[in-house]
């Protein structure tokens, strides 16, 4: 729980800083979604239970920051963590490039499922750019994101990590 709380707080800081930068950046960066990055990072560097806790707390933060109903992203992230944990793709150390590739794929599927759920329970704003550019932006930013997060994690000495 402590690890998840620390990690979630770091995530809140980094995403706030990112949102602070956004007004000065091109609008294409508005397609960025934090959830796929969080899923990949937590599955790669944390144990299963910690990943679930991270999904709970970080999902809530992502919900609040994105303005959607609290619980939406939490549920989706838990679902994805469960499904991905059945595969062995996150075993062993991987390079940043490979991880960013995972982010690209997960981000694509995450956005589709997000749109389906949004369509089922509310209004859907279908933007093609969201499905095409979104995953690309996510994978590019993930490289910097993971670098920052791993450095900050070392400073805060997050236990329970596989790093």
């Amino acid at each position: 729980m402590k690890t998840a709380a620390k990690f979630s707080f770091l995530l809140l800081m980094i995403s706030s800083i990112w949102q602070g930068f956004l007004p000065k950046m091109p609008t294409i960066f508005d397609f960025f979604l934090l959830a796929p990055l969080t899923i990949v990072f937590s599955l790669q560097y944390f144990r299963f239970k910690e990943s679930l806790m991270i999904c709970l707390l970080s999902g809530a933060i992502i919900d609040i920051l994105s303005g959607s109903i609290i619980g939406f992203n939490i549920f989706l992230m838990i679902l994805f963590v469960l499904i991905l944990s059945f595969f062995n793709v996150f075993l062993g150390k991987k390079s940043q490039f490979v991880l960013s590739f995972y982010v690209l794929i997960i981000s694509f599927f995450y956005r589709i499922i997000y749109l389906i759920f949004q369509g089922l329970f509310g209004n859907t704003y279908l933007m093609l750019g969201n499905l095409i550019f979104g995953p690309i932006i996510d994978s590019i930013i993930s490289i910097l994101f993971y670098y920052l997060l791993s450095k900050i994690q070392n400073i805060f000495r997050l236990s329970g990590s596989k790093i």
Binding site: L12, M13, S15, S16, I17, Q19, G20, F21, P23, K24, F48, K49, L52, C55, L56, G59, A60, I61, I64, L65, I69, I70, G71, F72, I74, F75, I78, L79, V81, L82, S85, F86
Partner: protein, 293 residues
């Protein structure tokens, strides 16, 4: 077996944990205020961090903007300003040259109209003699047949008399110098008097003394040279009366005259050569078309 149990455990944990977000969604659908209550700390923290980030980013981007964009624009502005200044200078220079040409042409016209065949156009090259006297130096001398006491005029009126001559240059004593004196006449009232310069640091002034009070001079009367007892010919405009006073002894009047010639802006003058009073052909000739021949 253990793997199945492990997976089952995972699914159970997930099912349990997934119930929390579903519960949250259900509660929020019933009561919207729960969402505000839960999101307040996150938004507050995120807001502070975003404010700080924006401040830093804004400051950096302003610095870059100032350094790269403004400095270029400032250079461009400076270049444009210098070009505008240059253009203004050229414009004033052209205006100056036009005025110079006009005054030179008028001098030619004066010389032609009044039969000043022996006249020499000269450029004023210096103002000399100050503070004790009012003089100018011209770029013509004895080589150009200029002699002492030759009268010097401009297109506006009388300037003075040649005081000293060298081979290529001459000194001209202005009429506004206190040591200058010549006979003058007031056109309207026909009064006569001696026109002298007035010593003043800030103005070029003349004064006519020994005016007969019976002639009844008035303010605004035009003053011209009378041509009597002087190499200065008759009819050269001097100035306008702006003040009349009684003399110290009370027997005559004295009038203060504002000269027509702008001595501060004098560039070209005409030297009337060989203006011996005995050689004057027509003492009633005037440079002005008011008194046509």
């Amino acid at each position: 077996m253990w793997a199945i149990i492990e997976r089952a455990k995972k699914i159970l944990i997930v099912l349990f944990l997934s119930s929390l977000p579903l519960l949250l969604i259900f509660i929020q659908n019933k009561n919207q205020e729960i969402k505000f209550f839960l999101s307040w700390p996150v938004i507050e923290t995120a807001g502070r961090i975003e404010q700080l980030t924006l401040g830093i980013v804004g400051g950096l981007s302003d610095w870059f903007f100032r350094y790269f964009y403004w400095s270029n624009r400032a250079d461009e502005l400076r270049n444009l300003r210098s070009k505008v200044e240059e253009a203004d200078k050229l414009r004033y220079r052209v205006k100056d040259l036009i005025n110079e040409k006009a005054s030179l042409l008028e001098l030619d016209l004066i010389a032609a109209n009044n039969g000043y065949d022996n006249s020499q156009k000269a450029q004023v090259i210096a103002r000399t003699g100050s503070p004790l006297s009012r003089m100018i130096r011209i770029d013509k001398g004895s080589r150009h047949q200029i002699r002492q006491k030759d009268p010097v005029i401009s297109h506006e009126g009388i300037v003075g008399q040649v005081l000293a001559v060298s081979l290529n240059f001459s000194d001209v004593l202005l009429v506004t110098d206190p040591s200058s004196a010549f006979e003058a006449k007031l056109i309207n009232s026909n009064a006569r008097g001696l026109c002298r310069g007035v010593a003043s640091s800030f103005k070029y002034l003349l004064e006519i003394t020994d005016i007969d009070p019976l002639e009844n001079p008035k303010i605004g009367d035009i003053v011209m040279s009378s041509g009597i007892n002087s190499q200065i010919p008759f009819g050269l405009l001097v100035g306008k009366v702006f003040e009349i006073q009684k003399s110290d002894d009370g027997l005559s009047l004295k009038a203060k005259v504002d000269p027509f010639v702008k001595f501060r802006q004098l560039d070209y003058v005409l030297v009337l050569i060989n203006q011996d009073p005995e050689n004057k052909a027509d003492i009633y000739s005037s440079p002005w078309p008011l008194k046509a021949k």
